[in-house]
Amino acid sequence: MVSKFTTRYSYGGDEFLFVELSEEMSLDVNFRAMAITKKLKEKNNPHIMDICPSNASYMVRYNPDELHADELIDELKQLEDSVKNLDDIVINSRLVDVPVLFEDPWTHEAVMRFRDRHQDPESTDLEYAARINGYDSKEDFIKAVTDSPFLVSMIGFVPGLPFCFQIVPKEEQLEVPKYVRPRTYTPERCFGFGGGFSVIYPVQGAGGYQMFGIAATPVFDKEQQLPDFQDSMVFPRQGDIFRYRSVSRDEYDAVREEVEAGTFEYLKQDFTFQPGDVLEDSHAFSQKVLRRLYND
């Protein structure tokens, strides 16, 4: 694939460097950011404190007393050249089943509370999103969200929040505006959508994404009690592939009980892939991923 990017390097004060690979989101550009930051990590430069891959960009926090910003930029340019061809990049991923209760009572309460901050106070977030994406019903829209898995393209905002980008051809990508004015309250584990990204809010707090439902399972566990959180308070990793599965209230309650009891473990499979596998035929890739997750 030939892509034209004019990468922009910008100082974020004296300690951060911001690198924008593209103004537009695509799977291709996310893989590129992943590849560059992965190579940078492998260099173990002691003067680099944080490497933060994001959706179509990335950020580096460094010690400017030891490493000049412009030297770092030169190095990053070389790294970018070295990953021009994504063929030799391998992504270590996990396929994860994430049960979501759409139109749950807790999210609905929050949806109704902030109607005055919304583009369309007469609809719910889900009705509005379905309509502007050209779906006849919210059920059809939910089907579009749940039929194909999402790539975890960035972690951030607050600890553990996964930004997820659906693995479908560009013309099938869903997109919704963010709230006109951000909310002061979002329920914990709320499943939201803003711009081209779905998210799960790890903790209760502010937010500006459309709210569709609630995940039964946590993405952040500061006590690290659940088996999936033994190594980190934060579950999602960039490169993971999440399948959001619509569940009934009964299944939701059953999963919640397991979470509360500390016994819940995500249905997941380790999986490695190459960007080319996805970019050549995203439908075929998505189908393969679902078979692997549920049948293997």
Binding site: S10, Y11, G12, G13, D14, E15, F16, F18, E20, S22, E23, E24, M25, M49, D50, I51, C52, P53, S54, N55, A56, S57, Y58, M59, R61, P64, D65, A69, M154, I155, G156, F157, V158, P159, G160, L161, F163, F165, K170, Q173, E175, V176, P177, K178, R181, P182, G194, G195, G196, F197, P202, V203, G205, G208, F220, K222, S232, M233, V234, Q238
Partner: protein
């Protein structure tokens, strides 16, 4: 041990912060005014990186259950021991049973109380700093409350004589009008040329929404260059495809009320960022109070590096003068 009689408005345990977890969405936290924080530890004879109490606007009331040495730096929130005024920026002696309290804030917003040995709370991800949004670090992940008991650690490095005081030239003043230096860039190409200028020429007012996450500022609406929004960004002209936010970066949601992010920042999101406060001036904005004025000045990387050098040198001089005491 130290007993908290009254917690003050918001008193948290902080140190030099939590590096290396930004990519998981974990901000560094740590003392907002790192200069005052470092000097407080020096005056108490502590090792670098020891945890202190960060006091906001209104001080706590603390009862010391042991003899020790303390120091208060940062904003002028005048300390009192057993009701008697004592000096800030000076090594103070407290005896078992003494009560430390504070007068009303005179200048600045945040003071730092160092106790010889440091405040001892469990280290979480290599830092004792409190990140209240997620309840991580510090004293049970939260600001202090009445009847909390603070343990004192063993990070004392040397004895500093009671009455040792930092020379006047090393004590920052805390004006009501703040000149904050930034490096412009990030996504400022999104602003019209006129708005880029206005951002730097305007006098911004600190709103009541000013905390450790960030400061929201009031001024006038700024305009973005019209465009067809790139895929994934969202429809508002202030939206970009969600990206990382540097500490100190300034975003302008919908063109109104810029938000300058501080140490408990949200680590990323979908608003165009237009400039970043240089590291030395994060100390200064942390001392700005609600309704005070802020003017942003654009500097080059070389100027930012010079400011950094000056501050480092200042801290080394303070350390040397204290050692020779």
């Amino acid at each position: 041990m130290i007993k908290v009689l009254k917690p003050g408005l918001q008193t948290t345990v902080q140190d030099n912060g939590r590096a290396g977890y930004y990519e998981t969405g974990m901000p560094p936290s740590g003392a907002l005014d790192q200069y005052s924080y470092a000097v407080a530890n020096m005056l108490a004879g502590n090792k670098k990186g020891a945890a202190v109490l960060e006091i906001t606007y209104m001080g706590p009331e603390l009862s010391f259950e042991q003899d020790t040495v303390i120091a208060v730096t940062g904003a002028a929130i005048p300390p009192k021991i057993n009701g008697e005024s004592v000096s800030s920026w000076e090594t103070l002696e407290v005896k078992k049973g003494d009560i430390l309290s504070f007068d009303f804030v005179k200048q600045g917003a945040r003071s730092y109380l160092a106790v010889a040995g440091g405040i001892d709370v469990p280290s979480v991800m290599n830092s004792r700093s409190t990140y209240t949004l997620c309840g991580i670090g510090g004293y049970e992940g939260r600001a202090l409350e009445g009847d909390d008991w603070l343990s004192v650690g063993d990070l004392k490095e040397r004895n500093i004589k009671t009455g040792t005081r930092v020379k006047e030239q090393y004590i920052p003043d805390f004006p009501k009008n703040h000149e904050i230096r930034v490096i412009t860039g990030l996504c400022n190409y999104r602003l019209t040329d006129e708005s880029k200028q206005r951002f730097l020429n305007l006098e911004w007012t600190v709103t009541p929404e000013a905390n450790r996450v960030g400061y929201r500022l009031k001024g006038e609406r700024l305009e973005f260059v019209p465009r067809e929004q790139p895929f994934g960004a969202g429809s508002n002209p202030s939206n970009v495809v969600d990206l990382g936010y540097p500490i100190g970066s300034i975003q302008i949601p919908d063109g109104v009320e810029p938000i300058a992010l501080l140490n408990d920042a949200v680590t990323g999101g979908g608003y165009a960022t237009v400039a970043t406060i240089i590291s030395t001036d994060l100390n200064k904005i942390a001392q700005a109070k609600t309704n005070e004025k802020i003017k942003f000045t654009s500097v080059t990387m070389e100027e930012a590096m010079q400011a950094r050098k000056d501050m480092k040198q200042k801290l080394e001089e303070v350390e040397r003068t204290l050692e020779s005491n």
